[in-house]
Each structure stands twice: as C-alpha cells, then as structure tokens.
C-alpha cells in the first residue's frame, strides 16, 4: 500500500517530467509528444535515462512493473512498445538503450504472472530475435541471456503457434562462432550453447509446442554441441590440467547440484556443451533416441573422429550414462547398424567403432533382457563372420594344418587390421557377456557354439579320410571356427562354473567335444582352453599347465565333489575321457595341444576325482598309455609325451582320491618314476629334432610302462574291491591275475609298438584298441570285447555302473 501511495503521489511531476524529456528525445515522433500519450507509453519512456550509461531508471522501472502487475491486460502493449523502441535504437546503433530495453523486458517477464505472459512473450521473443540478428556480439550474448531466462519460466498456457526454428538456427550458428578474438569467440559460443539448452528445456517438456526432436532441429543442435565438445581436450590441455580427459565422465553431476547460473558462468564451451548433451540425451524418449544418435554418428564420420576414437568413446559414454536406462540397448543397436554401414570402410575405422562398442556395451548389458541379448550377440557374430569372409577370398585355399600359421606369417597390413577388428569385436562380445547373469552366459555360449561350423560327422569317425573331407570344406571354415571359439573362450572366461551339469548341458558339451577333434590343431587347442576355463572351479589352472610328478608340491585346491558332480561325471565322464584320449592321438598335435589336453584331464581329475569316478580316470590313463605303446602313426616324441602325461595324471589321481592302495602304489613307484620322468623329459627335448635316436630309450620306457600297465589293472580291481564284497574280491583276483598275464605278453614282443600287441592277443589292450578305433566308444563295446576273451562275470560284476549307461 505504501508503494502504491507513493506511486500516485509522484504521478503529476512524473508526468510533466516525461513531457519535457520526450521533447528532447530524438526518437520521439512529434505527433505523439503530448500529455495525451497513453500511460503505459509514458511509463515505458520513463525507464530510459537521458544518458544510456546511467542505466535503467530503477524507480521508474518499479512503477512500470507495478503498473504491469495491476493492469496485466496492458502487458502486451507494453511489450510491443518496448520492442519498437528497441528496434529503432538498434537501427540507430544506440546499443545502450537497447540493453536497457531488454533489461526492462527481462524484469517484466520475471515479475509477471505466468498466465498473463502469453502475449507479452511474443514481443519479448521478437525483441530477442531482433538482438540476435544484429552483428554486435554483445547484443547477441545479451539476447541469449534473456532467452535463457525466458526458457526457465514455466508457462501454463501452451503457445501452439510459437516457433523456435530461428533460435535453433541462430544459436547453432553461434556455437560455431569464428570470431577473431578468442574471448569473444568463447562468449558467443557459450551463448549459443546456452541458447540451445534453453530451447531444449522450453520445448522438450511440452508436446504441444515445436517438436524439438525433428531431424531438422537435431541435425543442428547435436553437431553444434559435439563441435564444442570435441575441443575439450585441447582446451583442458591449455588451461588447468586437473581433469583427466577420459575420466571426465561423471563430473557434471556435481555441477548440476550447484546453482545453474553459477555453473554456466564459469563453464567453458566444451564443458557446457557436454552438460547440455547429457540433458538432451536424458530427455530423449524411445522414439527420439535415433534422431539424436544419427547426427552424432554423422558428425563423427564427417569430422573423422573414429580413428583415434577417444572422442567417440567419450561421447558414447556420455550418451550411455545419460540415456534413460531402458533405452540404452538402442544405442548399441544403432552403433552396430553403423558398423554395418561401414562394412566397406577401412578396417581401422571398423576396429574403432567396434572398440567403442566394447567400451560401452557393458553399460547396456544390465538392461538387456531376453531376445535383445541374443540379438546383440548374433549381430556381433555376424560381423565376425563377415570379417572372416572378407579375409578368406584373398587367401590360398587351406590345405595343411599349418595353414593358420602360414596366414599369420604372410600378413599384409590390411589383414592385420582386419584381425584387430575381429579382436575388437570379440572384446565387445566378452565385455557384454561379462555383465550378464551367469545363466545367460551359458545361453550365449550355446548360441555361439551353434554358430560354429562343425566338421562333418564322418570326418571325425574316419580319421583316414580326413584329407578327402577337408577338400570339401568351405574356405574359411577353420578361420571362422577359430574366431568363434575365441569368442566362446572369451565368454567362458567370464563365467563361473558351480555345477558341471548346468555348465555343460548335453547340447553344449556334445558339440564342444566334437570340436575337440577338429582337423585344425589351433581349433583343438581353443576347445581345450574353453574346457579349462569352464572346468577349473578351484583355480588350479596355473598349477596344472605342465605335467609334473611333484603333485603334492602344487598346493592344489581340492574339494570333495558333490553328488550332482558325481552324477555328471558318471553320465558324461566316459564321453569326455574318450574325446580327450582321441585328442591326444591327433596327428597334427603340437606340444601345446598335448599339454592342453593334459591340463583338461588334470583339471577334471582335480574337480571330479572321487571313489565313484576314479575307475574312469584310471581307465583313461590306461588307454592313453596304450596309445603311447601301440599307435603306429605317432612320433616317438609324441609318445614320450603321452607317457609323461600318464605318470603325472596317475600321481594326481592318487593325490586327489585318498584310497590307500592307490596312494601306496604311487608312493612306492615314486623314485623309479622320477627317474623315468626326467629321462622322458630329456629325451623329449632331444627328440623333437632327432626323433629316431631315442629308440633304445623308447624300448626301455615301453618295458617299464608295460609293467605298470599290469599294475594299473590290478589297481582298478583293488579300487573296486573296496566297494564290493568279498566274493567280488575273489573274482577280482582272478581278473587281476589275468591282467598280469598280459604283462609278459608285451614284454616279449619288443619290436616296434604296432606289432607288439595285436588287438586280439591281449584282452586288456585289445579293449583299448577297440575303444580307440570307434569315435564314440561305449563301455558296452568294451564289455563285449571282454566277454569274448576273459571271464565275463568278473568284469560285469566289477564294473556294474558301466552298464547303466
């Protein structure tokens, strides 16, 4: 009330004063220069000082504000009049007055109630536009500030007719300011970014106003922000070195907590642009994400920001962290589609894109469910396949097993790049899988497995015809197997086995074991590595890489295997063992292959050995030993290796399963075996070069192991004995004796192994022979063979569990 009174008191002198003042004002049109001018015009005129340096006349501004508040219907006319005055002043380059007019409009805007603003806003925005159109940076910046102020007001009446495209166009243009003065340029760019931020805030929440997500707008806004963001690095480098470029992902959160104005005052264009980008992405709904991402990708393409990809990674991280979580999958999808679009680009670009993918894919993994997971995996695998196919046509068709190595040797730069691309894709796959729950990892492993080109069934069964079959294989199959198994391995390493039966469902285990006999040794190696990572629950892998007899010193972590594990071992143990055994026989095996199989067997033993399963393990050992003794095609060094594996595994079995006789046996044999082992090792290293020379030692070894062979058999019986009754014990002895009888057999036949033991002469070894020659050896066959040669009831009673399957 006091204010009001004061207002009326001063009405008269004020009025006179204004008349006087008007007459000196060159901007006044003479006809209006009278006391009859409308009151609002007089009030407006009065806020301008004589000298623009004096600034807004505060008292009079208060009067104008009060008038506007008490007569809101006049607000639009006040706005219009202010605008006209300002236009005139701009034209006459009297910027001081322009600034005052703008300030007055700002104050009115803030003071007045939202519902009255609608019409006033029109004049206000025309005023802003007018200022933005001027070439004067100062006015442009001023206009932007006013615009931002306006943008922060929540209007309650939508204005359907209001269009923002000029503002977006102009602000975007300002974001690219190339003003000669560095400071001024920064100011203009900052203003541009703030302006865009304002437009986004103003429009995004209201569906009725302009659709900011239209490509015509996004194609301006997004590149403008990115253009400023990409200078981040150089800016930071020059100025404070405090913040690391890469670790800069989440810093703006603290900024946002602060007063908005303050932040914007102290920001540099890159930081502000980044904040604005987060805001934009954060507000994007599902339908709008692509209209943001499209210009992002285009910008990165056009500005060649994929190689190196630091900025691309930075940008996509920002997007991933800002986007509403449920849509993050779309970003991955879009980026993959971009990879498709770039299928003809240089491998370096593709590698970079895939790398970006791998850096952000984990963020999406948490949100991906159901089919989208497999979609992502499938898409990655498709890219891998394409990449492999791209590589293949330029190559000589594969003929030999060493073909992969020869490729690596004969590399040109391009295929090295291509391989890097594949690595990047595999990494992305691994990253993605790493963040999925375990049950999905199994699904993924099975999915990948289903994509691996399998060697034909006959191929495995008939080793002799392998070369024949190889010729019919599609080129690149081996390479694709290789790549896909690498991916599988990557996923496998992220998986933690709890129960074997969940890790190895039959539909996964079966193809995996089949692949373990693939013609390509590198593929076989990969399969073993996959088995390692999946079998090794107790982190014994490092300790079991090489065969050793000092098992006790390895400090292995052993745990009694659980009931489900035993069931698994009984069900699938034989198949796994037989595939291990067969793997060892593959002709192209390198020392690495053999060692890898050893490790698998050793890990299986460490994880699964117990009273129930020990027989199977021992059987595996015997069959390996048999191979070492009888196989004609293996090189001597290969055989020595097999022997050393058998020794080492035997000690491991004894160590893992505390059955006294077995342990005893192992201990008893220890000193002698140590010698043997050392000898083997020595011979091994020699014999890689001069294979023929070791014939004497070979014979020696055969001798020794043939003895042991017999003992093993006895052991098998003894083990069983413990679980069976006395009667069986009796039968056992018979069986034991029978086995012992095979010892001399082999002893006498000293000549080269193949002729040493014909399958029929010794039931025991014959059995093994049979096993080896049939790919999916079953215990039934074993039994069958025995039936024809040895006392059948003994065996049948001894190994009752064998007949269950």
């Amino acid at each position: 009330m006091a204010f009001m009174k004061c207002c009326f008191d001063s009405e008269l002198p004020d009025f006179l004063e204004s008349v006087v003042q008007k007459c000196t004002d060159p901007g006044c049109c003479c006809g209006c220069c009278s006391a009859l001018r409308p009151r609002y015009k007089r009030l407006v005129d009065n806020i301008f000082p004589v000298n623009p340096q004096d600034g807004l006349v505060k008292n009079n501004m208060e009067k104008l504000t009060f008038y506007a508040l008490s007569s809101p219907e006049k607000l639009d006319r006040i706005g219009e009049y202010l605008f006209q005055r300002a236009s005139r002043d701009i034209y006459r380059r009297r910027n001081g007055f322009v600034i005052i007019a703008m300030e007055a409009m700002d104050q009115l805007l803030v003071a007045c109630h939202a519902q009255n603003l609608n019409l006033f806003v029109e004049s206000f925005l025309r005023m802003v536009q007018k200022l933005l159109e001027s070439t004067e940076p100062k006015l442009q910046v001023l206009a932007t500030q006013s615009f931002v102020r306006f943008a922060n007001i929540e209007e309650d009446t939508p204005s359907y007719h209001r269009r923002y495209d000029f503002f977006i166009s102009k602000f975007s243009s300002m974001c690219h300011s190339n003003h000669g003065e560095h400071d001024l340029r920064n100011k203009i760019r900052l203003a541009g970014i703030k302006g865009l931020q304002g437009v986004v805030r103003k429009t995004v929440s209201d569906d009725l106003v302009e659709n900011i997500w239209e490509p015509v707008h996004m194609d301006k806004i997004v590149p403008s922000l990115l253009y400023n963001m990409q200078n981040l690095r150089s800016m930071r480098g020059q100025g404070k070195r405090g913040k690391e470029y890469d670790g800069k992902v989440c810093t703006t959160e603290e900024d946002e907590a602060d007063e908005e104005e303050e932040v914007e005052e102290r920001s540099d264009p890159p930081t502000l642009a980044e904040t604005c980008m987060r805001e934009l992405v954060g507000r994007a709904s599902f339908g709008h994400i692509r209209s943001v991402l499209r210009p992002v990708l285009r910008h990165l393409d056009l500005h060649e920001l994929w190689v190196p990809n630091l900025f691309a990674i930075h940008t996509f991280r920002i997007i991933m962290f800002s986007i509403q979580a449920q849509y993050s999958y779309t970003v991955i999808e879009t980026l993959m589609a971009h990879l498709d679009d770039n299928s003809k680009s240089r491998p370096k670009i593709r590698t970079s894109i895939a790398d970006v993918l791998s850096k952000i894919i984990a963020i999406a993994a948490g949100e991906s469910v159901g089919p989208s997971v497999l979609e992502i995996i499938n898409s990655l695998l498709t890219h891998l396949r394409q990449s492999v196919m791209r590589e293949v046509p330029s190559r000589v068709p594969e003929e030999s097993n060493d073909e992969v190595e020869s490729i690596e040797e004969g590399d040109d730069e391009n295929s090295a790049d291509e391989r890097q691309y594949q690595e990047a894709l595999i990494n992305a796959l691994g990253e993605f899988a790493n963040h999925l729950p375990d049950y999905q990892k199994i699904e993924i492993m099975m999915f990948i497995m289903s994509k691996v080109p399998h060697p034909g069934q006959e191929q495995i069964r008939s080793h002799h015809h392998r070369h024949h079959h190889r010729r019919y294989r599609a080129p690149g199959d081996a390479l694709l197997q290789n790549i896909l198994l690498k991916s599988l391995l990557k996923v496998g390493t992220k998986y933690r086995t709890v129960h074997f039966n969940t890790t190895f469902p039959l539909s996964f285990l079966e193809p995996l074991l089949r692949m373990s006999l693939a013609p390509d040794p590198t593929v076989r190696l990969l399969v073993q590595q996959i088995l390692h990572t999946l079998v090794d629950r107790h982190h014994n892998l490092e300790k079991l890489l090489k065969p050793t007899i000092h098992v006790a010193d390895l400090d292995l972590t052993l745990e009694k295997c659980s009931r489900p594990d035993v069931i698994f071992a009984r069900k699938h143990g034989p198949a796994m063992h037989s595939s291990l055994h067969e793997s060892l026989e593959q002709p192209g095996n390198t020392a690495e292959n053999v060692e890898a199989v050893f490790t698998t067997a050793a890990l299986l033993c460490a994880e699964l050995a117990c009273e129930d399963t020990i027989a199977d393990f021992l059987r595996l050992l015997i069959s390996i030993q048999d191979t070492a003794l009888t196989n004609a095609t293996l090189s001597p060094s290969h055989k020595y290796y097999l022997h050393s594996i058998v020794v080492s595994l035997f000690i491991l079995v004894a160590h893992a399963v505390p059955i006294p006789p077995v342990m005893e046996y192992a201990l008893k044999k220890h000193p002698g075996e140590e010698m043997t082992f050392e000898a083997i090792k020595k011979v091994l290293s020699d014999s890689w070069e001069k294979e023929r020379e070791g014939e004497e030692e070979e014979r020696c070894r055969q001798l020794c192991h043939t003895f042991r062979n017999a003992d093993f058999n006895e052991l098998v019986s003894r083990t069983q004995t413990k679980q069976n009754d006395v009667l069986q014990n009796k039968l056992n002895e018979i069986f034991g004796r029978l086995s012992t009888a095979t010892g001399p057999d082999s002893f006498f036949g000293r000549s080269p192994p193949p002729h040493l033991i014909p399958g029929s002469s010794s039931p025991f070894l014959g059995r093994l022979h049979q096993r080896r020659s049939s790919a999916s050896s079953s215990q039934g066959q074993v039994n069958h063979h025995h039936n024809s040669n040895s006392p059948p009831p003994a065996y049948e009673i001894l190994f009752p569990e064998l007949f269950v399957y």
């Binding site: 025309r126 536009q129 209001r162 000029f166 166009s169 974001c175 490509p215 210009p295």
Partner: protein, 203 residues
C-alpha cells in the same frame, strides 16, 4: 522498425573457397574482407531491402564449404526459400562439384526452392569456366544464373535483389499471407514458400 512485408531465407552453398562469405559480406556490409578464413559451421546475416516500395527482409545463412560441416549445413537447406549455389570461375574443380551439390539440394532442400547458380570471382584474369558453360549448366538444371565479383562488388547487389524480387513475385502470386510486424509468428515465416511443415504442428 519491423515493418517489412516479407521475410525470405537465403542459403549459400558451394565448395570451400569459392567466395560465399565474401558475397554475403559485400551485400550485407558493403565490404570485401581480405584474407577471409574458412567459415565454421554456419554464419548468419540479415539485410532488409526494398523492392517496389515493399520492404523485404533477407535472412542469409552462409554455410561452410568444408565437407566436415556437411551435416550441420544440410540441416539449413530445408527451410530455405532460395539457395545460392556458388562456384569459382577460375577453378574447374569447384565447377565439377556442382552435380554433387545439386544432389544434396535435391535430397535436403524443398523441391520448390529457388535455385541460383553463381560464378564468382569475375575480377580474376585466370578464368577457367567460360560464362556460356555456366549458363548452359544452369539452364539444364533449371536454375537462375549470374556471374559476380564480390571483390569488385560486381553483380552482387543484383544477385540478391533479383532473388528478393523473384521470391516476392512467387509469394504474391500464391497470395501468401503477408508478413506483418504484429503477427505472432516469431520467425516471420511467410508460411509455405518452399516448406510444407506448417500444418504438421499438431501431429
């Protein structure tokens, strides 16, 4: 005062270095900036001209010629009433790129946009593209044609004035609503010349 009758948006495109910015500067500010650097993104100028006693406001968007800014520059084509496609008469490559530019215009601009081919730098002695070749190209692609020199201020004024006149003619013949200083249309869009977005607001 905002008392113009029409507002038209003119967008300049063409290879880097053909003199787009100089043309705009010459026209809007009457000067020829020596050693003009490459435009970054998009530049904006305004000029009000008078034709047949009517005030016409020209919003001129001067785009960067460099390829890397193509994504942002293209987004300005859509709302243009007139597109000036400029080449340098002393540089065959800038002329050779014209078909590419036309493809872009086809793709991003309105089909009704007024297209003007401009051969700039007539002040230079080392001409590579004869006037007739430029004329021929323009005729084949249904464009207006003019040769200019931003440096000598030759034909620059005429270029923009003719565009303004032509656009005004079009606007009148279609009886478009006039731009009125009091109209609430903020950007002074004269509705449908070369853009059909007006009615889609509610969708």
């Amino acid at each position: 005062m905002e008392d113009y009758k029409f507002l038209f948006k003119v967008v300049l495109v063409g290879n880097a270095g053909v003199g787009k910015t100089c043309l705009v500067r010459r026209f809007t500010q009457g000067l020829f900036p020596p050693g003009q650097g490459a435009t970054i993104g998009v530049d904006f100028m305004i000029k009000t001209v008078e034709i047949e006693g009517e005030k016409i406001k020209l919003q001129i968007w001067d785009t960067a010629g460099q390829e890397r800014f193509r994504s942002i520059t293209q987004s300005y084509y859509r709302s243009a009433h007139a597109l000036i496609l400029a080449y340098d008469i002393t540089s065959q490559p800038t002329f050779d790129c014209l078909p590419d530019w036309l493809r872009e215009i086809e793709e991003y601009a309105s089909s009704k946009v007024l297209r003007v081919l401009v051969g700039n730098k007539t002040d230079r002695e080392d001409r590579e593209i004869p006037t007739a070749v430029g004329e021929d190209f323009a005729a084949r692609h249904n464009m207006y044609f003019i040769e200019t020199s931003a440096k000598e201020a030759d034909n620059v004024e005429r270029l923009f004035m003719e565009i303004a006149a032509e656009l005004m003619e079009q606007a009148r013949s279609k009886e478009l609503p006039r731009y009125d200083g009091n109209s609430p249309s903020l950007n002074g869009r004269t509705t449908v010349i070369g853009e059909g977005g007006c009615c889609s607001k509610f969708s």
